[in-house]
């Protein structure tokens, strides 16, 4: 046990890298190369990846005008695009970012944030964000795990949101986050037998602990991500929809054969807690379905107060920048946490177009109880983009 703990501590503190600080020049890190695939890569794929790497792969680092791609919630469709502007100031002490984008399903989003990541020698980040969104057609199949696809209703949600947040990073791999916000979701019934038209004002607060040793969050091939969070949604309109949400999440990425094969595993538990007579609004209930959770089910297919999901995925480097993936997903929703199980299942396979640090496009075909679904997205299905967001989102985003 002691040895195991020592190993874990050593890997977290990058002790192996520290050992390289001797008198000799350091060896080139393994991230300088990428595992070769099983078959030679056609020139067109290499150039597509090269183009994406040079034009899209720098993330938040580039000052100036940029195009915001693939950064929308599930349901928005295969992609979105819009202009943005960001700038770093004072030798990385301050950062501003603003963008607006529209998706293929006409989801519209505008956001602006200012961050000061350099306090206490980069140990403390303080930020504030504002967000306006209009998602006109989100699927709603009712509450519980026994809903059917013919119960499909559509609702729209529009909201403004303001959030203040802080993240304490005692280590490179650990973040302790806290946030407080204000949001006013206006829900409108669009079609179908269920749904409501309502307007609320919430003050959401959250504290979280994240341990993240993944090599590249946009295309993880090694490391772990562990996260625990507790949030309170204070309903300032009627008080009847005040609730608490607790989350536990773990993901692990294990490279095999020099990284030619990556075994990815993920588990996520979400629990909502209300006082007697209170309820969680349906759009804030944890939901399952879509490429981030159960890939043979449509986005937001199941929802209830509690949710459990597990994913296992094996990625094989078919070519240097094209992975073949096979996966299995299982999970369910339930009114009470003790009733959660893994009864809803998906199996399938797909392809991932990626560089070492970013999955730029993916296509998956998945099958389960409700047939086949083929999905195309401009992101990694196990990239957990939602944990990088500083603000609690409305609706609940799997």
């Amino acid at each position: 046990m002691k040895t195991l703990l020592r190993c874990v501590f050593a890997s977290l503190c990058l002790v192996p890298a520290a050992a390289a600080f001797a008198q000799e020049p350091p060896a080139v890190p393994s991230s300088a190369t990428e595992p070769q695939g099983i078959v030679p890569e056609p020139d067109a794929i290499t150039r597509a990846v090269l183009f994406a790497d040079r034009n899209l792969g720098k993330g938040d680092l580039t000052n100036g005008i940029y195009w915001d791609f693939g950064n929308m919630i599930p349901g928005a469709g295969w992609g979105n695009a819009g202009p943005g502007y960001r700038h770093w100031y004072g030798k990385d002490f301050a950062f501003i970012d603003a963008s607006a984008s529209i998706s293929v399903n006409n989801y519209r989003l505008g956001q602006a944030r200012v961050e000061l990541p350099g306090f206490l020698k980069s140990r403390l980040l303080i930020g504030a964000s504002a967000r306006w969104q209009n998602f006109p057609n989100i699927d709603y199949f009712g509450v519980g795990s026994n809903t059917t696809t013919d119960m499909l209703s559509i609702y729209g949600i529009k909201s403004s949101q303001f959030t203040g947040y802080a993240t304490l990073r005692p280590f490179r791999w650990m973040g302790i986050g806290a946030q407080i916000g204000w949001t006013n979701p206006q829900v409108s019934h669009v079609s179908g037998p269920m749904g409501a038209t309502e307007k609320h004002t919430f003050v959401p607060t959250e504290v979280s602990l994240t341990i993240d040793t993944r090599d590249y969050p946009g295309h993880p091939t090694s490391g772990v991500m562990l996260r625990g969070a507790g949030a309170n949604y204070d309903d300032r309109t009627t008080g009847l929809n005040t609730f608490r949400r607790y989350e536990g999440e773990a993901a692990s990425f294990v490279p095999i054969g020099g990284g030619r094969v990556v075994l990815a595993m993920h588990g996520w538990l979400v629990r909502s807690e209300t006082r007697d007579g209170h309820s969680v609004p349906f759009y804030l209930q944890p939901s399952l379905g879509g490429i981030d959770t159960l890939r043979s089910f449509t986005d937001y297919r199941f929802r209830d107060n509690n949710m459990l999901v597990g994913n296992a995925e094996v990625r094989v480097a078919l070519m240097t920048h094209l992975d073949l993936a096979v996966f299995a997903d299982a999970g369910n929703v339930a009114a009470r946490p003790e009733n959660l199980d893994l009864a809803k299942r998906s199996y399938g396979g797909g392809f991932r177009l990626h560089t070492r640090r970013e999955t730029f496009a993916m296509v998956d075909a998945a099958t389960g109880d409700e047939g086949w679904i083929v999905s195309f997205r401009l992101k990694d299905p196990l990239g957990f983009g939602r944990i990088a967001r500083r603000a609690l989102l409305v609706p609940f985003v799997p």
Binding site: A32, N63, S122
Partner: protein, 324 residues
Amino acid sequence: MRTITIAIAAVALTISASCAGVKVPVATTAPAPAGASLWIEPTDLGSRDLYYGPWGSQHAPDPKGVYTLVERKHAGVNLGLTVKDAQGREWSVKQPYPGGLDPEGPVEVAVSRLLSAIGYHQPPVYFLPAFTLKDDFGKKVEVGGRFRLKDPSLKDAGFWKWEDNPFVGTKPYQGLIVLLMMFNSTDLKNTNNTLYEHKNGDLVEQWYMTRDVGSALGDANPMAPRKGDPESFERMPFILGVTSGKVEFAYAGWYKNLVRDRIAPDEVAWASELLGRLSDKQWADAFRAGGFDPDDANRFITKLKEKIDQGRSLGARAADRDRQ
């Protein structure tokens, strides 16, 4: 759907606007101001050290040193950092993307060595394959790249334009364009040209430099050119022919205005003769300075020598025609 179409069109416009190229250069009759130079005749070419380059080993980064992070790079398409070494010298580090697909650092250093050897001004650039970085969380080993020293003797005075500078039409200027075609350089935007004020005692010289020359030694595909890729470099031809006294280059990139109907055969020959004076050791040292694998280096050198021969023969044919 209409908004989506507009968004896609806007993206396409942005991408093409960012690669719009340069205007056709027009020669001025005014002489270059005193102290301004693009090129200085390399009278000691045969003895020049192409491993450490024109700035020598005293300006080179310490491969065993610890470099303190000043800030991350926020411009351009490459990753990078500004760091300080133990002597307090500040370096601009250009790093490859993880995975190492077509890194520009090695190319930039090798091309810079070749240009400086034959008389073109170049900043102090070096290549380190890896280095130790110290940031607020401690030390870690980073993938290296091109280290460019912010030397106090060089003051960045902004960029100069290909189409508007005191040297347009001169042999060194035309020759520089020929050399960049020879290297299959693709990123010839004006902002990669830097005017430096160089302090030489009490004298302040204006050095016109072509900087950031790392987009080369591959091919000139307009959307996704390969860089530092021997196979692409070998595949792409140099000169297609001569039409109406002007050389037709195989270049198909965004900056055709620099070469279309502008370069004469004797200007190609001038540049080829100059580069052809390098010794085998100097060629090898230039690529060794960029950290190239010797086999890859040999492939680049062989192809470059083929191009030099082609350029020389073009000049010889033009001279024959003139005699007749």
